[in-house]
């Protein structure tokens, strides 16, 4: 098993959430407006779960570039454990498990600066060449 060191994707701020809203098409006001988020029963604006998922997949892709051979991503799954709020830092890391010489499984977690787990993920790749 190979470790994938945790890397920081920086802190969540409102400008980032505006950009991700445009990029993803998810314009839900709970990600953009404090008052709306609170009216919906939330403590405040929350980051899109798929933004955190995007960071995780970017970390998986960068980890795969360090390996020999060409792999194709086949499956990606996310379990959203906790909300991420403005001001929280997001870090992503995990490990690679080689299963049968052709298929690889990567386990990743997104955590905040206090090591609280926000999202867990599994990425499965199949080898094409090399």
């Amino acid at each position: 098993m190979n470790e994938i060191p945790f890397e920081s994707f920086g802190k969540i701020d409102q400008e980032l959430l505006k950009r991700f809203s445009v990029a993803s098409g998810d314009l839900n006001e709970i990600h953009l407006n404090e008052d709306t988020a609170k009216k919906m029963g939330l403590p405040g604006v929350i980051a899109h779960g798929m933004l955190i998922a995007g960071y995780i997949s970017s970390r998986a892709q960068s980890a795969m570039r360090g390996l020999e051979g060409n792999y194709r991503l086949v499956d990606l799954s996310f379990r959203f454990k906790a909300m991420t709020f403005l001001g929280e830092e997001v870090l992503v890391g995990g490990n690679i498990q080689e299963s049968d010489g052709k298929n690889l499984k990567i386990h990743l977690q997104a955590v905040n600066g206090n090591q609280e787990v926000k999202t867990e993920a599994v990425a499965q790749y199949t080898k094409i060449t090399g």
């Binding site: 994707f9 980032l16 950009r19 991700f20 445009v22 990029a23 993803s24 098409g25 998810d26 839900n28 709970i30 009216k39 919906m40 029963g41 779960g49 798929m50 933004l51 998922a53 995007g54 960071y55 997949s57 970017s58 998986a60 892709q61 960068s62 570039r65 194709r72 991503l73 086949v74 499956d75 990606l76 799954s77 996310f78 379990r79 959203f80």
Partner: protein
Amino acid sequence: MTLQGFIGIKSSPVTLKVASEDRAFFGQVVQESEPSDLSPVFFTKYRKGELEILDKMQVPLKSILHGEQTYHYEPAAWESFDSIEFDSSLESVLEKKGGSMVILIVLTQMRNAANQEVLVNAKSTFIVRNG
């Protein structure tokens, strides 16, 4: 109608063009380290059929939490395509805790609009809190 009565409902198929600048912008925002690579999570843009289904079921957005998300990628997902056609369907409804919590699973299929080749099959799990 009970929520179970909605099992099998589908959203209307929608086709959207995929602009290279949209792909690049998404990659920038999620900090893909190789700008030319397609972020696997880019396909989240084509899940809008889920909203149509939740709307038909009259489930208030404020009561929904996104529990899990999976994507299964066919080889065509990593080849070139200009437009994606997508639609969603409600696969299952599971009541828990005496109905105070309901788990909804919605499936979305994304296809290359030019040749109908399947690109991605997505499964979204939503947790609906009642009361």
